[in-house]
Amino acid sequence: MANTLRPYLTCIRNTLTAAMSLQNFPCQDVERHNKPEVEFKTNTELLLNPILICRNEAEKCLIETSINSLRISIKVKQADELENILTKKFLRFLAMRAESFQVLRRKPVQGYDISFLITNQHCEEMNKHRLIDFIVRFMEDIDKEISELKLSVNTRGRLVASEYLKQYT
């Protein structure tokens, strides 16, 4: 299973390097506005083809680009109900604090667990390669985090149960 992780992440990294060619672009529909085109999708000529990279049926990554913004949506592997709940709660916790992450989107795109929105402003202020590194590392660490959480929930459950049942033995 682990041997598909490297190609999956390399593919995402290469796609992001190509997709993150963003530039400042004033809105064509409303004067004096500057909006991330990938969110509004009003002008189809400004959008590029979305790319879906799947590792397997459960894990995938959708990258949508436009002339001034880029949206990355990730679906994390969730093997059972417990992981489902943990992922949802953990990523919701992160998304609520999207302000401090800057590139995080407050609500994930429909059908995915977490989304990033990167605009040309982010590319000007921050280093493009570091941004890509951040996203790829995030994807690597997310799996580890969820496994750790699951492990700690199970361990704690076992401890609590055995302590409680001690009074009956």
Binding site: R6, P26, I67, E125, K128
Partner: protein, 409 residues
């Protein structure tokens, strides 16, 4: 603020960090001053392309409310024209060491993206997000600039404009009358690129501003705003259109990492497309009839040359780059042996380590290339680039042009 970069075979001569992000720059005619747009201001520096020059800021032009997207400095009349995302344009005139702005009513209802003075400086063209191009000229009677809009044909935002150059420099035209007449004829052509992936050539002939002989061109009689040629070569958004010094050729880039060369621009042009394996380009600059340099998201200018048959080819990247940090070379046999033991782990670590940013002088996309030569010069040796990293870098081709000449380019 400026770093000296000269070394044996390097093309980059000097680099100046001026702001967080630069949207455009323009030099004055004798290359002693540079106007740089950052945010909603234009900063004018006392500058020089010399390697050891220190640039100090002389003036700050503050009139626009939003990002200043384009600036151009007219060589003879010394006017600066600026356009901005707030739909306005100002023409600045230097009076007693203070720059006085004159508002130009562009009559567009969206942002302006780029601006260029015509070779005779009696007009300037503005590319706008209203899917149109404005050509503005000065009306003596009312003492203000009037705009005429080319409304039709563009499917999307116009990203760049380029005037067909004069064949002869101004002060020569009395001597070379026959050439001058021919050059004026073509001066009314305007090439535009747009995010609908097409490059078009329009006529910008304005009665009363351009001489009558200018109305007759290789295309025949034409009126203002008529589309003469439409080039649909790119699959991605088109940027960076420029004419060659003689005006025979045209080049532009597409966001699908292609660069297009059109020779013999006329009713039946010859087009060539080069597909590149790197990130898309943003702007081009003709160094001569046979050489072109282009810059873009790779942060590294690329040199292209055409051979005797007229075929264009990629020659090389101009930025040698600093030595990459990831070069881990075993220097002795002992460490090589150790390397074998730790080889597995090292390789594992290397793939997880952050990708090294390219060691180029620009850290972010190059958005504009400007020649550093008097106007009308047929062969350009030096040019400057500005980018989204806020730097202006000066490049000198003299060091490598001999090597290229030996290769027959």
């Amino acid at each position: 603020m400026g770093e000296i970069l000269r070394s044996a075979d390097m093309v980059a001569v000097a680099s100046h960090q001026l702001a967080q992000c630069i949207s455009g720059h323009a030099w004055n005619v004798d290359l002693t001053m540079i106007a740089v747009c950052t945010n909603n201001e234009v900063h004018i520096y006392n500058a020089s392309p010399a390697p050891s020059a220190v640039w100090d800021r002389l003036h700050v032009l503050q009139k626009h409310d939003q990002l200043v997207s384009g600036v151009d400095w007219a060589p003879v009349s010394n006017y600066i024209v600026t356009v901005s995302h707030d739909r306005n344009s100002y023409v600045w005139k230097l009076e007693e060491n203070v720059w006085q702005p004159t508002l130009v009513i562009l009559r567009i209802n969206r942002a302006a993206i780029s601006v260029k003075w015509s070779p005779r400086e009696n007009k300037f063209a503005v590319a706008s997000g209203a899917k149109s191009v404005c050509v503005c000229y000065y009306e003596e009677d009312n003492n203000w600039w009037v705009s005429k809009i080319i409304r039709k044909k563009h499917g999307s935002t116009v990203t760049g404009v380029a005037w067909h150059p004069n064949n002869v420099v101004f002060f020569c035209f009395q001597l070379y009358e026959p050439y001058a007449k021919r050059s004026f004829r073509l001066q009314v052509l305007l090439a535009t690129t747009s995010t609908d992936c097409k490059c078009r050539i329009f006529s910008a002939y304005i009665k009363g501003v351009d001489s009558r002989s200018a109305a007759t061109t290789t295309f025949g009689e034409i009126r203002f705003g008529e589309q003469l040629v439409q080039l649909d070569l790119a699959l991605g958004w088109a940027f960076g259109v420029k004419w060659s010094p003689s005006g025979r050729s045209l080049a532009y880039v597409g966001h699908d990492s292609t660069i297009h060369f059109i020779d013999d621009v006329g009713p039946s042009p010859i087009a060539q497309t080069l597909a590149l394996r790197d990130l898309p380009l943003r702007d081009v600059l003709f160094l001569s009839e046979k050489r072109l340099v282009a810059g873009g998201f790779d942060c590294n200018p690329m040199l292209f040359a055409s051979d005797d048959t007229g075929t264009w080819n990629f020659v090389r990247f101009l930025d040698e780059g600093k030595t990459p940090a990831s070069d881990v070379k075993a220097s002795t046999q002992f460490s090589e042996a150790f390397g074998k033991f730790y080889g597995q782990a090292k390789r594992g670590v290397a793939t997880e380590s952050p990708s090294s940013a390219p060691g180029t002088y620009h850290n972010n996309c190059i958005t504009l290339l400007n020649p550093l030569a008097p106007p009308g010069e047929q062969e350009i040796r030096k040019f400057s680039t500005s980018g989204m990293d806020g730097k202006v870098v000066i490049w000198d081709m003299s060091t490598i042009s001999d090597a290229l000449a030996r290769l027959g380019m």
